[in-house]
Subunit: 443 residues, 2 copies
Amino acid sequence: MSDIDSVLLTDLYELTMLEAWFAEGANETASFEFFVRALPSSRNFLMAAGLDQVLQYLESLHFSAADLAMLDATGRFSTAFLASLEDLHFTGAVEAMPEGTVFFKDEPILRVTAPMREAQLVESRVMNLLHYQTLVASKAARIVLAAPGKQLVDFGLRRAHGAEAGLLSARASYLAGFTGTATQLAGSLWGIPTFGTMAHSYVQAHHSEVEAFEHFARSQPHNATLLIDTYDTEAAAGKVVELGRRLARDGISIRGVRLDSGDLAAHAEQVRAILDEGGMRDTTIFASGNLDEYRLRDLVECGAPIDGFGVGTRMNTSADAPYLDCAYKLVEYAGEPRRKRSEGKATLPGRKQIFRCREAAGRIEEDCLALAHETHEGAPLLGTVMRDGQRCAQPPLDAIRAHAARELASLPARLRVLNEAQPFRARLSGPLEALVARMDRAA
Amino acid sequence: MSDIDSVLLTDLYELTMLEAWFAEGANETASFEFFVRALPSSRNFLMAAGLDQVLQYLESLHFSAADLAMLDATGRFSTAFLASLEDLHFTGAVEAMPEGTVFFKDEPILRVTAPMREAQLVESRVMNLLHYQTLVASKAARIVLAAPGKQLVDFGLRRAHGAEAGLLSARASYLAGFTGTATQLAGSLWGIPTFGTMAHSYVQAHHSEVEAFEHFARSQPHNATLLIDTYDTEAAAGKVVELGRRLARDGISIRGVRLDSGDLAAHAEQVRAILDEGGMRDTTIFASGNLDEYRLRDLVECGAPIDGFGVGTRMNTSADAPYLDCAYKLVEYAGEPRRKRSEGKATLPGRKQIFRCREAAGRIEEDCLALAHETHEGAPLLGTVMRDGQRCAQPPLDAIRAHAARELASLPARLRVLNEAQPFRARLSGPLEALVARMDRAA
């Protein structure tokens, strides 16, 4: 599916609108802002992610000869319009929050300012990229908060929604504080630590569990995590102890065991006791199986002796809130603020900035949503990340991850809980409120 | 993100297991089956999809020089093992249900039979591909059942989980009975009909709604669907009537209007009346905005005069059930059936077949899950689709779509409803039950 890099991965209406703009000869400067209209009830904050991929996309935007041939084949577009696409590139500016920044309802996390045709064309894919990584980082951040100090590994490739989701969720969860991923390609592309154990099939295919364990441990002499729930978990833990003694004579150690079914807390207690009695105090217990922040909180609260968790499907699909009510809306065109007034979907006009005030300890105290030209106390969250189609220097992934950790630490206590809290909302500045009122009166 | 075609888009453990198999010099024939352990409570049936992409993946499976260099750079793998990957290809067989087939709990929809290393390596991506399209086809099929005879268009690219999800959900929903998609690339790749209207930004950027409508209609003289909810829906419908009269003199017709907010049924009633009074009886009403099968059922039941629906996010993310509890499990190795007995996750051993019995009218009556060598009344659902790594002829997408429509028509009435029904379950054949019992006794 390498076709996903084609510029035609867009909604047809972007193209028909482009043709209409072309036909009327208009292409003034437009500003679009990406924001989330309302947080899911199970989210008290969101974490911005996906900017790096958006900038890559904008930098490489173009219509290849194959793209133009495919458009021509639809019979929908005029020759003159198709010719106008041949040298279309993104020449605009982008302002955005750094990835890993915590944000709330109505706060733009990215603004595209460019000639209308460019700014409109990129809508579908910019949304697709920002929405998914932000969705996953926001979910993963909750998991990080629920299991402080635990090893957390993304296990979700198999049930992520397609290849790109598998890959990008490894990045988004690492950024939000996960320890690493099982997805090899994410490790190779972004330097994310990778983790792997073994599958039940490996155990099943051998004549006995202990034979499987021994072959695997010899193949990974200091790195093997043995999956012990294929038949009887505690019996398998006993076999691991016996094997551990035998392998120790050859200088081989067993790094850990993995539980993947049943009552994880109860099994972990019993397995820890068996390992400890067998002198394997350094052998860790890793658990997986339909985990999310709620189950992790319960396991941590009951003191289950589990060192690390593989968290997959429910994180990569953000299962309790699988999408965000996000939008990419025109806020200014040809120098004039613009507003949509659709029922329940009205937007705030004008190019905006968020000013964040913090308490002495660094905790977020108040956000003020203002027009971009205003000055306010607090730190502005949006900064320039692309000028004239060229990206400005971006922080490496580990710096983004460190920023995300500081952001989580700066959350007010009431927003750090997993349960629904009183929503945090930015206050609107006086000039922004006045602009809204003026535009509504003029309507 | 063209990297998604790399074979390294897999879980690290597939590679560490491969190395362990390599180290022990074993590579007997293995059979793995993909099935769903339990249906989400909001699903009474599932629809198989994604086979075409699985076969493409298997046919092109290889380690490129870049892949091997990335693996080498991890420092985890021996030189001899990496060398063994250089000429690895998929040489096995695949048996599967045709795409578009309805299936139920525990029924394998695909079996891979190949040397262990190949059959194991492909686990992560085969699951990733089959899971997502099956998830979406199953959701889309419910939407099709809820709105018979209505035009249904996939609008979900922007909030699909990444690029591949955007693309594949267009295919899976079309296969399940949608009319088409807004995603241009899906149209170009697979010949799926594409649909597009206009965005609010287009209206907002013009000095007036009517100016925007006129420019757009002139640019799409017989194909324009005008978005009429940016400011005041009924007022906009009035403007459309006026404009329609004016444009008719130039031979231009307005094909439709779109509603995207507020009470869709109420707006549709009023807009229909305005259009009809204005003599625009052929101008259709299209609606969008957070739609799913439940909202479509309500709109259809109350007789809202809406001709077509754009269904996006909730379909592409399968929002009420964003994942399936699917597995890819070893059922036979080196000629012997294999079984996993983990708590709550025990699997059925042996290579299996499903025999489906139908009533005279074609309705599904009973499924029998049997061992592959058995003979039973009813039609076997799994057939060979790949031999020796080469795919057999596969039906084109429109034939798959016709098959899916017949499958939906063959659902018993109690399974066609949107609400939870008594689950349909295959009965196990005598020989399969006997095998399970024998293996449990031997354990």
